[in-house]
Symmetry: C2
Subunit: 150 residues, 2 copies
């Protein structure tokens, strides 16, 4: 059951990528769709993989890295040593992702702060045409704005 299949353009439309890109992922070993004559046939599994690929891209990973990640799932019923290696690699990936999460949390935090400062400044200016300059306004609020702006 649930043996639904997709053509390449169906998937392309659904995920807003070009068929060319999908074939390219196959060339690079990230997808292995079935064939029906010449045509590629994508199953549920391939769809799931494509989702993984695109999420990986959104997170800034290279196709080679994404391939490594996907290969972790291809353990099948390999030997135990192989699975231990997979486990180790997975844990390393996890650490990298957690680092990235810290990066993004920082970025969000700072950007929120800066957005707020600009917003506040604009509000002040609205009711007081000759309020302090932006630079004075920024000083003492310890934003990244003050560090990066000249």
């Amino acid at each position: 059951m649930s043996d639904k299949t997709y053509t390449i353009t169906e998937l392309a439309h659904e995920f807003e990528v070009t068929p060319r890109a999908i074939r390219f992922y196959e060339d690079k070993g990230l997808l292995h769709p079935g064939r029906q004559g010449m045509m590629r046939v994508y199953a549920r599994r391939d769809r799931a993989r494509l989702q993984l690929i695109l999420r990986g891209k959104r997170l800034g990973f290279s196709l080679a890295e994404i391939r490594e990640m996907i290969d972790l799932y291809d353990v099948g019923d390999g030997r135990i040593e192989q699975m231990k290696l997979t486990l180790k690699r997975s844990q390393e990936r996890l650490s990298a992702l957690e680092q990235q999460k810290r990066d993004i949390d920082d970025a969000i935090h700072q950007l929120r702060q800066d957005v707020r400062i600009i917003d506040d400044f604009l509000k002040v200016k609205e009711r007081n045409r000759d309020a302090p300059s932006f630079k004075e306004f920024v000083q003492g609020r310890g934003a990244q704005l003050a560090e990066v702006a000249e």
Copy 2:
């Protein structure tokens, strides 16, 4: 006070990039260090910018995107209309980052789950040489593993 400066190789070592890369960022308008004769002189501000650039890269943004982000800080004391635009752009960036955060949270969640499954499986195997196959083991634990593996 705090007018410390850096040479290009100092920064390169500190952040583990090549001088070539730093010059490249300048070519692309992401940095504007001072000069002392021929040589570039990097101040606190430039260092902060370089940090922003590298964090942006770790998050998978292109240099062009990072430049747009940095330019948001270059508002200076521009006209109010300009600052309103900056505010809007910043809020859009914020939305994008929040989307990315959801992506990464998902990825971390799933990877943790999968790591746990593999770990459990290996433990079972350790005390019971002819335990169920990995595929059977995975079934019914609803991991992504089951979807993506063939």
